[in-house]
C-alpha cells in the first residue's frame, strides 16, 4: 500500500473510525432518500440517516477511560467511589470534585433519546402516509405514481 495512504489511514481514520462510519452511513442514507424509487426504501434510507446522526452524537460522549455516568444515590459508598467526602456541601462543590475523565458524557445520550423518539415518530408518520398513498394509488413506486398523476396536472 502506498505509504501516504497508510499514514493517512493510521492517523485519521483509525482513531476516529466511528466518525468515519457515521459519515459513510449518513451518505448511504442520504443516497437512498434521494435516489430510490420505492417509497419504503426511501424511508429505510431515512432511518439509516437518522441512526448515523445518533452514532455521531454518541461518539461525542465517549472517553477512553470513562465508565457509566452514574454518580450517586447520595450514599457514602458512591461518593467515595467518586472521590468525594460524604460531607460535601453544595452541588457546585461536588461538581468541582468529580473526576470528569472517569465518566462518559451523559448529555449526548440524553439528547439522542429525544432524537430517537423524534425519529421513530417521523418514521411512523411516514409509514402511515405511505400506507395512504398505497391505498389511493395502488403502488409505492414513485415513477408509477407520477405517471398516474401526469394526465391530471402538469406537475
Amino acid at each position: 500500500m502506498d505509504p501516504i495512504v497508510a499514514t493517512f489511514i493510521e492517523e485519521n481514520i483509525v482513531p476516529n473510525f466511528n466518525y468515519w462510519i457515521y459519515v459513510i452511513l449518513m451518505m448511504i442514507g442520504l443516497y437512498a432518500m434521494i435516489t430510490k424509487n420505492n417509497l419504503i426504501k426511501k424511508l429505510i434510507g431515512m432511518a439509516i440517516f437518522q441512526t448515523a446522526i445518533i452514532l455521531f452524537y454518541v461518539s461525542v460522549g465517549v472517553k477512553d477511560t470513562a465508565g457509566i455516568p452514574i454518580i450517586s444515590h447520595h450514599g457514602s459508598e458512591h461518593h467515595q467511589m467518586a472521590g468525594l467526602s460524604s460531607e460535601a456541601g453544595s452541588t457546585k462543590e461536588i461538581h468541582n470534585k468529580i473526576d470528569k475523565d472517569k465518566y462518559a458524557n451523559p448529555l449526548p445520550h440524553v439528547l439522542m433519546l429525544t432524537a430517537i423518539v423524534v425519529g421513530v415518530s417521523t418514521l411512523g408518520l411516514a409509514l402511515a402516509i405511505s400506507q395512504k398513498i398505497y391505498k389511493s394509488f395502488g403502488t409505492l413506486e414513485e415513477d408509477e405514481i407520477l405517471s398516474e398523476l401526469r394526465p391530471g396536472g402538469h406537475d
Binding site: 448529555l107 429525544t114 432524537a115 423524534v118
Partner: protein, 511 residues
C-alpha cells in the same frame, strides 16, 4: 405574573390540544370552540408579552424550564427567552392561529370529515411548536421543536386528497434531511463549546476565540443548509409548492404564512445570536457575496415560476419561494437596515400571505376551479372577497400604503447601503413580475366573460345580471379575510414604530 407569560403561551394551546382530542370522542362539535378559546387566550397573552417587553421594565423575559439554577455561569436546563423580536413573531403566530381557527369553522367539517378533532389538536400543537421555536434559547430544544412542528404539519398536509399525501411524503423526506442537518451542526457546536444554550455558545465562541475554527464553520454551514431546507430557500424549495397547494384549505392558509417565516426568524437568530455578527459578516468567507447571489436567484426564479403557473394556489406558493429570497438576502446584506427590513418582512409577509391564501381558498371554493382562467367577473360576483384579495395583492406588488411597500423600501435601502445592486434589481424585478401576475387576475376578475355577441355591451346593473350565481361565503370566512387585510394595512401604517423597535433590538447584536 409577567415572568410566566412565555410558558403560558405554550401551555394553553398544548393542553387545548389534549382537551380537544379527549372531547373529540363525545362532543366533536365543541372542538372548534375549545381551540378558539385556547388560541385566543394564547394570543392575548402574547399580546401582553409584547406590551410588557415594550414597556421597558424588562428588556427581555427569561424563563427557566423546570427551575434549573445557573451553574458556573452556564445554563443547564432549557431556557425560554422573549425579547421584542420574539414577542412580535410569537404574537403573529398565535394571532394567525386564532384567526385561522375562525376560518376553519365550516371548512374543517367539509374537508376532513371524521377527523375534525385531530385537525384542531394538530393545529394547536403546530402553534405550540412554532411559538417554542421562536422562544427557546436552547439549540437542541430548537431541533426538537422544529421536528414537532414538522411532524404536525406532515400530518396536517396528509389530511388532504391523495396528491396531498404524496406531497406530504416528499415533505417528510426533505424536512427530515433539513432537520438532521441542523442537528449535525448543533453537534459540532456542542463538541467545541460544551453547551447548548444559545447565549452560552455565543459566549464560549467569543472567549475561546473560535471564529476561524473549522468545526464551527462546518457547523454553521450545516445549520444554514438545514434551516434553508426548512424555509424552502431556492433551490431547496421543491417540497413546498405541492405541499401547500394540495393541503386542506384551512391548513394551507395558516401553514403558508407561518412555517417559512418562522424559519427565517430562526436563521436570523442563528446568525446574530448564536454565531454573532463578527463571524457571519466578517468578510473572511466567501459566503457573504454568494448568499446574496443565491437570494437573487431565489427571487428571480420564484417570481418566474409563479408567473408560469395558472393555478392560483401554486402561484402563491411560488411567490412564497421568492419572498423567502427577499428575507434571506436582506438578512445577509450585513447592515442593520437590511436585517431589520428582513425582519419587518417576516411580519408583513406573514400578514399578506395569510390574506392571499384565505382569499384564494375562498375563491377556489366558490368558483370550484383553481385556475385563473375561471375567475371572470369575480369583482361583481364576490366584491367583498375581492377587496380582501386586492389588498393582499397590492401588498405583494409593493404599493403604498400596504406593508409590502414598506418592507420593500427597507430592503432596498439596505441593498443600496450595502452596495448590492443585484439584490435591489432582483427586488424590483420581482415587484414587476408580481404586478403582472396579479393584474392578470384583476383584469379577468374585473371584466366579465367576453362572449362574442355582447362584446361591447356590459351588464349595466349588476343586480339584474343573471350570470351572478356565485355568492359570497359565510361570515366565518370573510371575517378572517378582513382581519388579515386590515393587518396588512395596519402594519403598513405602523411600520415606522415597528421598524424602530426592530432596529433597536438588532443594533445591539451588530456591534
Amino acid at each position: 405574573m409577567t415572568e410566566h407569560f412565555p410558558i403560558l403561551i405554550l401551555l394553553v394551546p398544548l393542553f387545548g390540544a389534549l382537551i380537544v382530542v379527549l372531547l373529540g370522542r363525545e362532543r366533536p362539535d365543541q372542538c372548534w370552540v375549545t381551540s378558539l378559546i385556547s388560541l385566543g387566550i394564547s394570543s392575548l397573552i402574547s399580546f401582553f408579552t409584547v406590551i410588557a417587553v415594550l414597556s421597558g421594565k424588562v428588556q427581555e423575559l427569561r424563563y427557566r424550564m423546570g427551575g434549573w439554577p445557573e451553574s458556573e455561569g452556564y445554563e443547564i436546563g432549557i431556557e425560554l427567552r422573549v425579547d421584542i423580536l420574539a414577542a412580535l413573531v410569537v404574537f403573529a403566530v398565535t394571532l394567525i392561529g386564532f384567526v385561522n381557527t375562525i376560518y376553519s369553522k365550516t371548512r374543517a367539517e367539509a374537508e376532513v370529515q371524521g377527523k375534525v378533532p385531530f385537525f384542531y389538536a394538530l393545529m394547536q400543537l403546530l402553534i405550540v411548536g412554532l411559538c417554542g421555536i421562536v422562544m427557546t434559547n436552547d439549540a437542541f430544544n430548537l431541533y426538537v421543536l422544529i421536528e414537532i412542528t414538522s411532524l404536525t404539519s406532515y400530518a396536517l398536509i396528509a389530511m388532504g386528497n391523495r396528491r396531498a399525501a404524496l406531497s406530504s411524503f416528499n415533505y417528510v423526506i426533505m424536512g427530515t434531511i433539513g432537520a438532521s442537518f441542523y442537528l449535525i451542526g448543533v453537534g459540532y457546536l456542542y463538541i467545541k463549546t460544551g453547551t447548548l444554550n444559545i447565549d452560552d455558545i455565543h459566549m464560549v465562541l467569543g472567549q475561546k476565540n473560535l471564529w476561524a475554527d473549522q468545526s464551527i464553520i462546518v457547523a454553521f454551514i450545516f445549520i444554514m443548509l438545514g434551516v434553508w431546507t426548512k424555509m424552502a430557500f431556492f433551490p431547496l424549495h421543491g417540497w413546498l409548492p405541492n405541499a401547500y397547494a394540495y393541503a386542506p384549505s384551512m391548513t394551507g392558509t395558516f401553514m403558508a404564512p407561518l412555517m417559512t417565516k418562522v424559519m427565517v426568524y430562526v436563521m436570523i437568530r442563528v446568525m446574530l445570536w448564536l454565531f454573532g455578527y463578527k463571524f457571519v459578516y466578517s468578510g473572511q468567507y466567501i459566503w457573504g457575496e454568494l448568499i446574496i447571489w443565491m437570494s437573487v436567484l431565489a427571487i428571480v426564479a420564484g417570481s418566474l415560476l409563479a408567473l408560469a403557473r395558472t393555478d392560483i394556489k401554486k402561484m402563491l406558493t411560488y411567490l412564497i419561494v421568492a419572498e423567502v429570497g427577499y428575507m434571506v438576502g436582506g438578512a445577509w446584506l450585513g447592515n442593520v437596515t437590511g436585517q431589520a427590513g428582513a425582519f419587518y418582512h417576516i411580519l408583513s409577509d406573514a400578514a399578506m400571505t395569510f390574506c392571499l391564501f384565505i382569499a384564494a381558498s375562498i375563491i377556489v371554493l366558490r368558483v370550484g376551479d383553481s385556475r385563473v382562467n375561471a375567475f371572470d367577473g369575480l369583482f361583481r360576483k364576490m366584491p367583498l372577497t375581492m377587496i380582501g384579495f386586492t389588498v393582499g395583492a397590492l401588498s405583494m406588488i409593493g404599493l403604498p400604503p400596504t406593508c409590502g411597500f414598506f418592507s420593500k423600501w427597507y430592503l432596498i435601502s439596505g441593498g443600496i447601503e450595502a452596495g448590492h445592486w443585484e439584490y435591489v434589481c432582483a427586488l424590483i424585478f420581482s415587484s414587476l413580475v408580481n404586478a403582472v401576475i396579479f393584474f392578470r387576475i384583476f383584469e379577468r376578475a374585473y371584466f366579465g366573460k367576453i362572449s362574442g355577441v355582447k362584446e361591447d355591451h356590459f351588464p349595466t346593473d349588476s343586480d339584474a345580471n343573471p350570470d351572478i350565481r356565485i355568492k359570497e361565503v359565510p361570515w366565518s370566512m370573510l371575517i378572517p379575510l378582513f382581519l388579515a387585510s386590515g393587518t396588512v394595512l395596519l402594519l403598513g401604517i405602523m411600520n415606522r414604530s415597528l421598524f424602530e423597535w426592530i432596529q433597536t433590538a438588532l443594533k445591539m447584536m451588530n456591534t
